[in-house]
Subunit: 69 residues, 6 copies
């Protein structure tokens, strides 16, 4: 029954990492709430850093500034 | 007024199918709840099978295993 | 696999209507995309009319104005 | 940066369970993707079983049938 | 056309504040992207502080600790 | 704390417009609700006009018809 949406920035996330993340979240729902993995959906939405803002700035710009510091 | 988000895996869904789906959902909201189609939004989010997990596994892998069986 | 989120205003939607809506959307996904109902999730989010805006106004106010006209 | 939305049915989930779930998901994002917990948001949406459908039926009815079997 | 979902904690947000927020976001979409307010939906989801986690902790606990400091 | 998801059609939105939109929404949350920009997330989801329906029709078709009128 659970449906989980994970939103992360699109920054070279590997297939392996996505599998590990989906498995870990599914396991947590089973361990903590007894949810059946067979009916647990987990989706990952990878969002461009130009489409994610924090503090009113684009993550793309925040990353660039951080790399220059 | 209604807003509907349909999330499906990105597996060759045709434009025609998406139109049929949007029309069917809009019609259901009108028939059942009397909602005005003119202010009914329906969006479709097609998600890569590497980004959708069920039972802690990627749909990509589930599909491959199913094809080998 | 499909996950559908239906957002409607909280305006005396009956249990029967919600069941009809869920059944209709599930049927459409099966008919149009061949999706298995057993792994089709449909959720309904009923939102207060004070928490839904159109044209920069609250639906509550839009409804009141409409009733006075 | 990550934002995670966990949707589960409203079935007596305790505060302790919700804390454990939030902590586990935050830890997984840190371990697997190196995400900073301080900027990791996790929200839990508890949905009435009358507002969640599977196989075109309400979870409320599925639960009742299961209890009678 | 735009659909905007604003998620905030449920902490005594007044009707007036919600109206101001909806109006401001609708105006920004019109000014910046020329979107028609008449077909701009903005919804506000107020989430309990027990259902929102940051840094793996519940906002309820973060607030209490902050008040004691 | 706030999380805002802005869904708009994918129609040549520029990086500059997305920055302006994110900044305006973040500012509104600070001005109206006193929310700290540093922990305000705003994401933009650009949706293909073939994946957005209004009145049971695809926005792509609505746009074409409008251009022919």
């Amino acid at each position: 029954m659970p449906y989980v949406k994970i939103e992360i920035t699109r920054e070279n996330n590997t297939r392996e990492q996505k599998l590990l993340l989906i498995a870990a979240v599914t396991q947590a729902l089973q361990d903590i709430l007894g949810k059946d993995p067979a009916t647990t959906f987990v989706t990952i939405d990878e969002i461009d850093t130009d489409n994610w803002g924090i503090g009113g700035e684009l993550v793309t710009d925040l990353r660039q500034r951080k790399n220059h510091d």
